[in-house]
Symmetry: C2
Amino acid sequence: MSEFASKAVDGGITAPNGFRAAGVSCGIKAKGLDFALIASETPASAAAVFTTNRAQAAPVLVSRRNLSSAGRARVIAANSGCANACTGEQGLRDAESMATQAAAALGCTPAEVLVASTGVIGVKLDMSKIARGIESAHAALSADGGASAARAIMTTDPFPKEASAEITAAGNTFRVGGIAKGSGMIEPNMATMLGFVTTDAAVSSELLQRALKAAADDTFNAITVDGECSTNDCVFVLANGASGVHLGEGDYDLLVRALRTVCEPLAIGIVRGGEGATKLVTVRVTGATSNADARRAARAIANSPLVKTAIHGGDPNWGRLVAVAGRSGSDFVLDGAAVRIGPIELFSGGAPHDERALQAADYLKQSEIVVEVDLGTGGRGASQMWTCDLSAEYVRINAEYRT
Amino acid sequence: MSEFASKAVDGGITAPNGFRAAGVSCGIKAKGLDFALIASETPASAAAVFTTNRAQAAPVLVSRRNLSSAGRARVIAANSGCANACTGEQGLRDAESMATQAAAALGCTPAEVLVASTGVIGVKLDMSKIARGIESAHAALSADGGASAARAIMTTDPFPKEASAEITAAGNTFRVGGIAKGSGMIEPNMATMLGFVTTDAAVSSELLQRALKAAADDTFNAITVDGECSTNDCVFVLANGASGVHLGEGDYDLLVRALRTVCEPLAIGIVRGGEGATKLVTVRVTGATSNADARRAARAIANSPLVKTAIHGGDPNWGRLVAVAGRSGSDFVLDGAAVRIGPIELFSGGAPHDERALQAADYLKQSEIVVEVDLGTGGRGASQMWTCDLSAEYVRINAEYRT
């Protein structure tokens, strides 16, 4: 890839040409927008990554089947306030009906509709409300409707997550846009991370799928709030070619990078909006025998309640980072290991540098923190994850009585 | 095993014949007992299980080496207040010196001493204090010193953990006793679960090792407070034969059961004393394709912050149990799955029973909770773990500023 420039633009998921969107209120949530449509003017290549949870919600099952039968899509239909998860046969029929009704409104086949739901588990969709949502959202579809769609998929998210960019590479210019939601798997039973991405580049579904997988691995799959993976998580991408730019196999790296341009800020936005979060924490692991080993250690650190509470309290507690890296299952050599909190090395060569603790405590007063652990194997494996601190507010939010 | 009776007796780790113990204060902690000796009158078979953390503390490395060279032990020497972890070459020399000094006092070889340390990571042992501890503890050794030893290994444990029983099987009677400490990997950097067990049965070290592994798997390895595994965790068992009862290969099941009689209450005691814990939670998983799959799902549930906060808040949130079981990596069939909170089935056959939610909420007011998830595979794999709830107090304890 000789040349790659990205420039932030407005518009979120409707920034790319040929996409319209709308977010409306249909009464599933007590208040606020709760139904979103995102539509491509023409059939678009489509790709998706889904939750690995084996308790898959009905909309996940239906979208997976639609995508594999059609290989392309025209519409994403999503509601918040009800996850349509653990709802049995009726839930599947409701998710299918949601696709069929959206298809009828937009003039495509039901298999060209991807559906998503987020909200309470174990409660059935109110299909009269869904019908109303489809009708109003269809009427409201517009080329600057991205912002309302971003708000309509929120549950207890403290703010909407949007990103969009214009990519210039090899003399071609196209756009990528996206929206996301999620702030932990959240009370009361509000499941789900959702990410929807559009681009006006033309890409085959097969290439789009591989590129999405790669981009998601380093963005949506590199974040954690509480280590939970919901029944409804999914990321969809539609590529409609409206820019006239065709991306082929030789453009794979470029495409991954373009998708990351939008997926990374969306993913980081989810962490920033994590339940009770007061700090964004970037966890970097180096010196691993492989990237996979580095990721395993980074994930263990990013999910450790001891690390997350220490950062919350501003405690430069390098011993916890060593202990978690050591128990992560990844290769770890204590004598070669090192721990840095921001730019301050607190442990290296088997010896602590506790004289730097006050300096590190000062660094931890910031709202954006980087912690780095070298696993000491001498290997070149590295990985990065984003997480948030663990506060008493997280406990309060999640312990609140539901029934 | 045709016959097995156990009867609780007093004495903890000194309940079995031929063991003496003492806990004394040597000044490592600001106040309270901080040094323990446990001594067998005669050389004893010994076995141990150690932390799987790859950042192993110096006493773990020294005890492991001593045990493999001698295959037996006379003495356990343990201090609290300093973990002697991440202390490099000097830490190793200090742990060796602790064994050598204890051996000199007790009249055995250094390889017959098992050492353990628990407390702050990254701080060196003050060897003049250790010398004082060995001297006073040696002078104080007594056949009813178990209780003081149990207190001397505490860090922030809210209460000491002791258990002892007289076992009668096949016409023979012998005793097992033990002490333990641990309440999470706890602030400020107080690492470690320690468990010390004695028996006056005569058992070969090889058989003792296998039986300890089996007993620990269902007790000490079946508990979690915060999912962390420290740099110093270890369980030691000494068998000195003072009862005159010899246990051989044919008594393996009996021996495992005898060890479990003591290890289970000690392990549960650690959970009860977990940081910020207000409830003891037994997690049972059934309907798994294997016991290992059941254990994986049970561990995921027992460590889930969403499950632990819901239980803390008295919220019968069965959706979280389904979601965590589904993402655990174990085989899971949603339509066959079931969730029970206490005796109340809240989800089964793909359908919720939310009309029972208030009944379940009432059950959750108790301080001892059982949750059960059937993974729905139709398999017979089952497992059980113990955990505690996650409270704002846990966050407060662990976020408190250390430096």
